[in-house]
Amino acid sequence: MREFGILIKYRLMNFSPPKMKGGRRTNPKMMILYFIIFVAIFGISLFPVMSSAFDQLASLELGPNSLIPSGYNLADLFFALVVFILMAVMLMNFLPYLIYSLSDETELAFLRTLPVSKGILLVYKSVDAIISSFMTIAMFIPVFLAYMFTKGVMGYVLVLPLIIVTYALPLVISFLIACLLSGKISAVTSKKISGILVLLDVVIFLGLIYMTSMIRNPSEKLIDFFVSFGTNELIPSTWVLKAANGSLIDWLLLIVLVIWIFRITFRIANKKAFEGAGSGSSRTWGKVNFNKKMGVMQKDFKILSREGNSMFFMFYPIILGALMMFVSQDILMPTIFMVIIASFYSSQLMVIQLAPEFTSWPIPLSFPIKFKSLFESKIKIVMGVFTLEYMLILVVGMIFYGFNPLSLLTIITAGITFYVSAKLGAYFYLSSGAFKAGAQMKRLGTKQVLILELVTILIAFGTIIVPGVYLNSFSSEGLNEWLHGIINNDTILAVIAIAIPVLVSFFSLRITSKKLNSEIKKIKEGM
């Protein structure tokens, strides 16, 4: 245990590379703060919906010949289903990341030299994975609280232990599977999978909210499904449900199972070498196709798609936008949200894309192309992806909800917004100087992120929100009245609605281009 403590301390100290200026490190307190923020975000959005759903389902009057077992109501059975979903999410999220951690040669090579048992290494390496599954834990808490609070005093007492065992079960199962698979799946593959699965988290989270608001009036079929699911003794979530209602046997079952799986894993781990897998190599060139086109942009796109987080950043905006649109049947709010988030993510994606150029320093500068073009292709990728997503949302909205086709005009300004944000991200990355000091993978600092967020929102406001509101005022009475309440003159309104986006686009394009170019120039003068 002492060994483990030392390792953890070492790990926390190295959580992020030291910043260039200021010289602060991310300390455990910050991590706890992030966790609390996550819990708060999910709590605020999930808890009320869940609470009212449980209340309503519990008081739902069902026919006399319903199949619900005595002592249970619909809320209980719904809880079992939600728990199952959460456990599955936990497993899917945690496992790929754990496998990735276990195949990360750079640190393992060092760790293997330490006089520490492999079982401890396994647990230790899972710290990264646990940190990365913050989001899932943060979802557990509000759901459990909402349900257990309907149970009175017993609920208050049991809620924390219940969260812990429910969380621990998929955790130890992941340990076991990761341990068995380690050395068989390559780091790149598992990183890619884990990136996609984080995205799934978001879908499931939003889905959960949607589902909860939909099942207020369940059909016969749905009730049947709940019953057969929530009473199936082979599904772990059923044990959790029974434990939540005070069944001692199920508590024992859960706890013993967790400990037992953990012990087995520990034993297997001690026999394992944990030597990262190769990448399914074969000695020939058989599968190699040099005829494939591989210009700067293809290369950038390939590298980007293999970066774990990028899938999340790329597709979160469209998923959020689409879900918001389906739920609200409106387009203005979803597009505004989408543009704000996408423009912020544009800058994040630029940082993710630029890091490899600097980790492979100085080779990129020796290429027979303008160094600037290495930036441009990345900016175009980011702009292309988000503009396409924006267009999709608009088109779907037009087809299904009859939105004003004039909104299509905002595609141009949206493209400009993403372009400018991407350039800003590149500028902040370069000006932070972190890439010079071997901290190429370092993301932007908190202060820079805040400034960036503010600037991108301002730009998005000028380029999208202003024309978006104006265009939508043609089809929305309320908006129209509101606008005319501010300025009661059609001509002036039209001029403003055109002038603001044009001016904001023009100046933001000019300023960011200038700033970025001067940073790029500095690179060649001394690195």
Partner: protein
């Protein structure tokens, strides 16, 4: 014989640190030029300026009769640079990186792939299908060499090319470079700390110390300059770069 690499009064200042100063170089076609010097002398900085990676604070660089300030891209298309640390895109596979280079250098793929195949056989490179992130230092070094050699550059810059290579690969590299210089008139500019390599391979040697070129010439000329005709390059190098105190250091160590 034409001048392939020409540097005139090169100077590079980082902040207050003068890394290279008053550097004049002339390397002719088909010549292998060895650039020696103690750690921190300014070798890597010089190579970076010659390859257009760093902008000189003062002075000019001409490669293949083209000026670096006006024809940078043209020059880069014709030269190759193997850096001291073989860092490449980790998230690409070896062959993808090679393919990317073929594309941006505008090479004939069929011909280049054939050459790459030969090089891979010679250097026992059988890991092109793996991600570069899974390579060892030596494997990266070999890949970097292979993708540079496959281009048949007119001028080749190598920064400590044998570091990290196993004995067999180092030997093959030496033979390959010699062949390129003799048969294709490739001009080679390399830095090294292995004096034996410089002694056996290089047609001419330059020694840099504290950013200044302190001696230059063939091995014979360097010997003549020091007045001791029997000295090995090692003795000459130590004498020129202030190794005279070495005797004292060794004595102290023995105490």
């Amino acid at each position: 014989m034409s001048e392939i690499i020409q540097a005139e009064n090169l100077k590079k200042v980082f902040g207050k640190k003068v890394a290279v100063e008053d550097l004049n170089l002339n390397v002719t076609s088909g010549e292998i030029y060895g650039f020696l010097g103690p750690n921190g002398a300014g070798k890597t900085t010089t190579i970076k300026m010659l390859t257009g990676i760093l902008m000189p604070t003062e002075g000019s660089v001409r490669i293949l009769d083209l000026d670096m300030t006006t024809d940078e891209i043209k020059i880069k298309r014709k030269i190759a640079f193997v850096p001291d640390e073989p860092k490449m895109y980790d998230n690409l596979k070896g062959w993808e990186f090679a393919n990317f280079l073929m594309e941006i250098y505008g090479l004939d793929k069929e011909e280049t792939v054939k050459r790459l195949d030969d090089i891979c056989k010679a250097f026992e490179i059988d890991f092109l299908e793996k991600y570069i992130s899974d390579y060892s230092h030596g494997m990266r070094q070999k890949l970097m060499l292979a993708v540079s050699l496959m281009r048949k550059p007119k001028v080749l810059f190598l920064d400590e090319p044998t570091v990290g290579l196993d004995a067999r690969s180092a030997k093959i590299l030496k033979l390959w470079l010699r062949k390129m210089a003799d048969e294709n008139e490739t001009t080679i500019f390399m830095t090294t700390h292995v004096l034996e390599i410089a002694e056996k391979m290089c047609d001419r040697i330059g020694i840099i110390k504290d950013g200044k070129l302190i001696a230059e010439g063939t091995l014979e000329e360097l010997r003549k300059k020091s007045g001791k005709t029997t000295d090995s390059l090692e003795d000459l190098f130590l004498e020129l770069t202030g190794g005279a105190e070495f005797g004292d250091i060794i004595e102290q160590l023995n105490d």
